[in-house]
């Protein structure tokens, strides 16, 4: 009897838990799913309300409109450029310093490691950093997206932890053949640490793709440096009530040029475009990021 009762309890719990998980997944997916549906729905029809899971009147008009202005196309290009350059430079330099500081008898190993680790905890703040960028002449320059983020102290720890798993004898074998540290780094360390470099690279890329605040403070007055996320931010802010002053530059202006689109539809289309690359690489990231998190968790 007791066993039977327990059996029923188990089944009730499992069904409830499964139902909860399904409801949870819907809650996670619905906002984005709905936006995709709206972005493919005729703008005038969307205004009537009630578009939920699929476009009621399918159209590509919203996307055509978004790309016809050219600014979104250009912003997309800026985002792609900053993301790829950022990723390669950051991974390369962070891996290089991680290799050097993983050498047990490197003369400056301790002070250099300290300098990197402490930099994770101190932060000069917005205004002093702004003046540094200004004094370096990086304001309203494309390089403001790359130069401040060339090395990442946390990723340094992640990569260094990984490098410790490479046996010293493998490194020594290259040295025996007369190879210096540069040769060891390029011909041995980079290929051997590809898994961790891919993980770190993906995180750097996602962070770079998603950032908009650097555009706001360092390059907002230069329209051709606006990234896709920044453009989306402008559109979102301009269609909210408080940003009437900048409203003309945003979705309203775009919507006004045609009676076929509305700010809501334009916003939906840009949201989909701005998240598409993330969704595209997401399946690949899955494989890597849990590894990255676990390595990072060993020593933060």
């Amino acid at each position: 009897m007791i066993a039977l009762k327990r059996h029923y309890e188990e089944r009730i719990f499992t069904s409830l838990n499964t139902a909860f998980m399904i409801a949870f997944s819907v809650l996670m997916l619905y906002p984005f799913w709905n936006t995709v549906a709206v972005s493919f729905n005729e703008a005038v029809d969307t205004v009537r309300g009630g578009v939920t899971l699929y476009p009621r009147r399918f159209t590509l008009q919203n996307y055509k409109m978004v790309f016809s202005t050219g600014t979104i196309f250009h912003a997309f290009f800026v985002s792609v450029a900053r993301t790829s350059i950022n990723m390669f430079v950051n991974v390369f330099l962070t891996a290089m310093i991680a290799y050097v500081l993983s050498r047990p008898n490197f003369m400056f190993r301790k002070p250099f490691t300290m300098i990197l680790v402490i930099s994770m905890y101190i932060n000069a703040g917005l205004i002093p950093t702004y003046f540094l960028i200004k004094n370096l002449g990086l304001l309203n320059s494309f390089w403001v997206y790359v130069i401040p983020g060339m090395v990442n102290a946390f990723n340094f720890l992640v990569i260094r932890t990984y490098l410790k798993t490479i046996p010293e004898s493998v490194i020594e074998s290259v040295r025996m053949d007369g190879g210096g540290d540069l040769k060891i780094f390029f011909s041995m360390i980079i290929p051997l640490s590809m898994p961790v470099l891919a993980t770190v690279g993906l995180f750097v890329a996602v962070g770079s793709w998603n950032s908009w605040f650097d555009t706001l403070i360092y390059a907002s007055s230069k329209v051709n440096l606006h990234t896709l996320q920044y453009k989306l931010m402008e559109y979102l802010q301009s269609s909210q009530s408080q940003a009437r002053s900048s409203g003309e530059v945003g979705a309203m202006a775009l919507a006004k040029t045609s009676s076929l689109v509305t700010p809501v539809s334009i916003r939906a289309a840009i949201t989909v475009i701005a998240s598409a690359p993330i969704l595209f690489i997401y399946p690949f990231m899955q494989r890597y990021f849990v590894v990255g998190v676990n390595i990072g968790g060993v020593k933060e």
């Binding site: 327990r6 188990e10 719990f13 499992t14 499964t18 909860f20 998980m21 996670m28 997916l29 906002p31 309300g49 939920t52 330099l93 290089m96 290799y99 050097v100 050498r103 490197f106 003369m107 400056f108 250099f112 300098i115 990197l116 930099s119 905890y121 101190i122 000069a124 703040g125 917005l126 205004i127 002093p128 950093t129 003046f131 540094l132 401040p148 090395v151 102290a153 210096g180 540290d181 540069l182 996602v206 998603n210 950032s211 605040f213 403070i217 989306l232 979102l236 802010q237 909210q240 408080q242 916003r267 949201t271 701005a274 998240s275 993330i278 899955q286 998190v293 676990n294 968790g297 933060e300």
Partner: protein, 313 residues
């Protein structure tokens, strides 16, 4: 031994080491100089907090004003309001974040079907990788008064008669921010607990089953105590970030109607510093935040060490 080596020999030895390690030096010195330039040199800018800083003047000609800006800050009701908002939103987000992540990890762990579990997990991480711009955009669409999903649902269930202005009612703002934070980060926050749970010795569960423990008792007496160290260390660490309530979420969700509850210290710094060009006041506010932050982090580390955990720094 080394103490007896006379300085000139030590220097010679150093030069010799530098010679054999020159490739390592070429690879590292520029990077370290770069880190110093971007992380340490700007600390000099903190002097602005004690000056009446004018960008056009050189450093020697700046007027020093002592603690004037700090005195101003602590008598400025707007600043004190931003401190309150920062701390409150931080506490709400941390509390909601912890409870939801632990509960979700425990429930996920009970799923027997591995592929279903993996599917739910995959879905739950997804929002973490979307930008705050996209997430706040989705949130404002869902909470909109015109055809927003939440209002539609509540109206359909006849819980409300007319749409609620979720985003322009000050009473709801902290809740909206908390909900948005949980929606975006819940899955991600769960990973570390799931890793801790997977490290639990399965024989513990088997022994408990023989003793007649049910699912709930196993959760309470085995799973939770096993992940307690992880929970404690994460809690201690979050103390160090009490003034980092986030900036993007509040900046993107705020509007004129809710600014009394939405504006954090970071937004105050941005408004006074870069929009009104009162650099000294903004630097003072930022310095206050950073000093509190760093002290809290060190305090938290000290606590963690006492608790026998050495994973922080």
């Amino acid at each position: 031994m080394q103490k007896h080596i006379i300085p000139s020999i030590r220097i010679q030895k150093l030069i010799k080491t530098a010679g054999t390690q020159r490739q390592l030096l070429i690879m590292s010195v520029p990077i370290i100089l770069y880190v110093i330039l971007f992380s340490y040199v700007p600390l000099w800018g903190w002097t602005m907090a004690f000056q009446n800083f004018r960008p056009a003047k050189s450093f020697q000609n700046q007027e020093w004003v002592g603690l004037r800006w700090f005195k101003f800050l602590f008598s400025d009701p707007v600043f004190l309001q931003t401190v309150r908002n920062t701390v409150m939103m931080s506490l709400i987000n941390t509390t909601l974040g912890f409870i939801s992540a632990i509960a979700f990890a425990l429930l996920l762990n009970e799923l027997k079907n591995i592929s279903f579990k993996r599917l739910v997990q995959t879905v739950s991480y997804l929002p973490h990788f979307l930008s705050w711009v996209i997430v706040t955009g989705l949130v404002s669409t869902m909470l909109s008064v015109e055809d927003g999903a939440l209002n539609n649902l509540l109206m359909y269930l006849q819980l409300i008669d007319e749409p609620i202005l979720w985003l322009s009612e000050p009473n709801y703002f902290w809740g909206v921010v908390g909900g948005t934070y949980v929606w975006k980060e819940l899955g991600w926050n769960t990973i570390i607990y799931l890793a801790a749970i997977s490290g639990i010795d399965p024989t513990l569960y088997e022994a408990a089953e023989i003793d007649g423990c049910n699912r709930w008792q196993k959760m309470l007496h085995i799973t939770l105590p096993s992940i307690k160290p992880t929970i404690i260390i994460l809690l201690i660490m979050s103390v160090g970030h009490i003034l980092d309530a986030g900036f993007e979420m509040q900046y993107l969700l705020r509007n004129g109607l809710v600014q009394d509850v939405s504006d954090t210290i970071d937004i105050y710094v941005l408004m006074y510093g870069l929009q009104r060009s009162n650099y000294s006041l903004a630097t003072a506010a930022g310095l206050f935040k950073n000093v509190v932050n760093i002290s809290l982090i060190f305090l938290a580390n000290e606590f963690a060490k006492r608790a026998g955990e050495e994973r922080l720094i």
